[in-house]
């Protein structure tokens, strides 16, 4: 699970142009990760299992883990060591795999893509380290009787889904839309306040500083910018009525589509 800027938030670029200004920015659980948590809670309810939530990120990540507790997670683990900072899919996948191996889980669910960096590959790297099969863009999971395999529905392009079975344990990267994540109950929120968030440091996971975070990353973000416009957009001004009038006129006389 990853914590990311709220997709509705207005973004500003920092003074160095290296990243967005994070101060005063609202952070939430990544969209598809929230769906992964919901799917995990449903599977755990059916199988009398427990959901362990693992997240890598700075101090603010505790808020996301607290929310996961409120939603029903049984145990929350935070990879909070500053050495994990500034990673890419290669270094983060390695750190998360070490944490998962230590937890000893039977199934790993993640989101398909983060709403910030959007590499969409961290969980596949994690699966590779564990030597487990994986699937990206999962839209349906049914654990088969006996728990040896899962029947998976995977999104393809152009309005089609592919259906297959996959051996367990596996890493299933779910796509938004697989479910409607639940809301936390007041009771859940109150109970979550008392639960402990377990910190996993570099040494606990048997990793070297050079393997994780920015030191272990192969990619480096040099700078960020707002996309350049293709240049054509004419921005209409005025009150809603004036903009509406101007638009209809242009659609008739300039664009000739009315």
């Amino acid at each position: 699970m990853k914590q990311v800027p709220d997709t509705e938030a207005r973004l500003r670029i920092n003074a160095q142009g290296s990243w967005i200004e994070e101060q005063d920015l609202p952070f939430v659980i990544n969209g598809s990760d929230e769906c992964a948590l919901e799917e995990a809670l449903q599977i755990a309810e059916k199988t009398s299992g427990e959901v362990v939530v693992v997240s890598l990120g700075p101090e603010r990540t505790r808020e996301a883990l607290r929310k996961a507790y409120a939603l029903g997670a049984g145990r929350a683990v935070h990879l909070a060591d500053p050495a994990f900072g500034g990673g890419d899919p290669v270094s983060n996948g390695r750190a998360l795999a070490a944490a998962m191996a230590k937890e000893g889980v039977d199934l790993i669910l993640t989101g398909s893509q983060s709403d910030d960096l959007g590499y969409g590959t961290t969980a596949s790297v994690l699966a590779g380290h564990l030597g487990w099969p994986h699937a990206w863009l999962v839209m349906g999971i049914e654990i088969e009787e006996g728990g040896q395999r899962a029947r998976v529905t995977r999104e393809m392009e152009s309005g089609q889904n592919e259906i297959f079975t996959i051996g367990l344990p596996a890493v299933l990267e779910v796509q938004e839309g697989i479910n409607q994540p639940r809301y936390a109950s007041l009771r859940g929120i109150m109970q979550a306040k008392r639960k402990e968030i377990f910190e996993a440091a570099l040494a606990d996971l048997g990793l070297e500083p050079t393997e994780v975070g920015s030191a272990g990353a192969r990619l480096e973000i040099v700078d960020v910018a707002f996309p350049e416009s293709s240049g054509a957009a004419e921005m209409l001004e005025g009150s809603p009525e004036e903009m509406a009038q101007a638009l209809v006129e242009r659609l008739k006389t300039q664009a000739r589509v009315l």
């Binding site: 959007g118 999104e155 192969r218 707002f226 293709s230 921005m235 209409l236 664009a255």
Partner: protein, 325 residues
């Protein structure tokens, strides 16, 4: 030393994916920029005709792995086929179309080859000592320029529409079998079949006018005024993914990379910020009107007319003007 660029194509059911020719164009451009040669790679079963189709491009070679084991895509079989061949021929870059299939397996491939993976590249430029790769971040609201820190092989996937298939340079290429034994590839999934999402559906691809609604509308109860605008324009209603995922409109109305690709004469985007997955599904539209409260929303980068403000005021105002004319 001259660089070698590989381009891995995607095919299904006897046809090349539309991204395959874009990937060829991207690979040719990278080869030209770096001073090198581009070669294509095709995996499948009975894909001789498709290989011949690709061989009409300016490429040094088309490698083909043709085996029954590759009839249906699985990440296990694709990685097992590509990894040894890439290891043996040692290209410097391997270009993929950024599709739902390739992203499913290229991270595993990169890991097996100890290569660097750069997903969703839009463009690249000379950064002095090395190349700087541009890719969308924060759902396309920003672009980031990324540098590869480690030496060696780089795998990259090129975003749909970033480099047009029309930029592909025609020519003629020799066709050769891909090194290795594709027949031995082991599947890690047992594929059962394919199902259509959302049943019968609506073909938005033939609509002349579309009014599409995004998360910015706020909720299902706020959609009727947008439907009235669509009615006044004689337009079909479409939607971006979050609206569908929230159940505000049926999935058959979804426009974007996982829904329908449309190119109507008029496209009105209401409360759609313009994530890259949405833009690839509609940016070929004739005239694009964007209505959004955020002036920096990426939808304005593809729009012809932009209206910044409260859509709940602007949409009824447009309907009213249309009614009066």
């Amino acid at each position: 030393m001259a660089k070698t660029i590989w381009i891995v194509l995607q095919q299904r059911d006897g046809a090349l994916h539309r991204g395959s020719f874009e990937a060829v164009a991207a690979g040719q451009k990278l080869a030209s920029d770096l001073g090198g040669e581009a070669e294509a790679v095709l995996l499948g079963s009975n894909v001789g005709e498709l290989a011949a189709e690709v061989a009409t491009s300016d490429l040094a070679r088309v490698w083909v792995a043709d085996a029954p084991a590759l009839e249906t895509y699985t990440p296990g079989a694709y990685v097992a086929t590509l990894a040894p061949a890439i290891g043996e021929r040692a290209p410097d870059y391997v270009v993929f179309p950024h599709t739902y299939q390739t992203v499913d397996y290229i991270a595993r491939l990169a890991q097996r080859l100890d290569a660097t993976l750069l997903p969703e590249v839009i463009s690249w430029e000379d950064g002095g000592e090395d190349l700087l790769w541009k890719r969308p971040i924060l759902q396309g609201k920003l672009h980031g320029r990324v540098r590869v820190k480690s030496p060696g092989l780089v795998l990259l996937s090129v975003q749909s529409g970033a480099i047009g298939a029309d930029q592909r340079i025609a020519g003629s290429a020799e066709i050769s079998p891909l090194p290795g034994d594709p027949g031995s590839a082991a599947a890690d999934r047992e594929v059962i079949g394919v199902e259509a999402v959302g049943g019968e559906g609506v073909d938005l691809g033939t609509a002349e006018r579309i009014v599409a609604v995004g998360r910015g509308v706020g909720g299902p109860e706020k959609i009727p005024p947008v439907e009235e605008l669509a009615k006044a324009l004689g337009a079909e209603i479409g939607a971006s993914r979050p609206v569908i995922d929230n159940g505000w409109l049926p999935r058959e109305r979804q426009i974007g990379s996982s829904g329908q690709t449309v190119a109507p004469k008029l496209y009105v985007a209401v409360g759609i910020s313009g994530a890259i997955q949405h833009l690839v599904g509609m940016k070929a539209s004739g005239c694009i009107v964007a209505i959004n409260k955020d002036p920096s929303a990426p939808i304005f980068t593809v729009a012809d007319y932009g209206l910044v403000g409260d859509l709940h005021e602007i949409v009824p105002a447009i309907t009213k003007v249309l009614a009066g004319t």
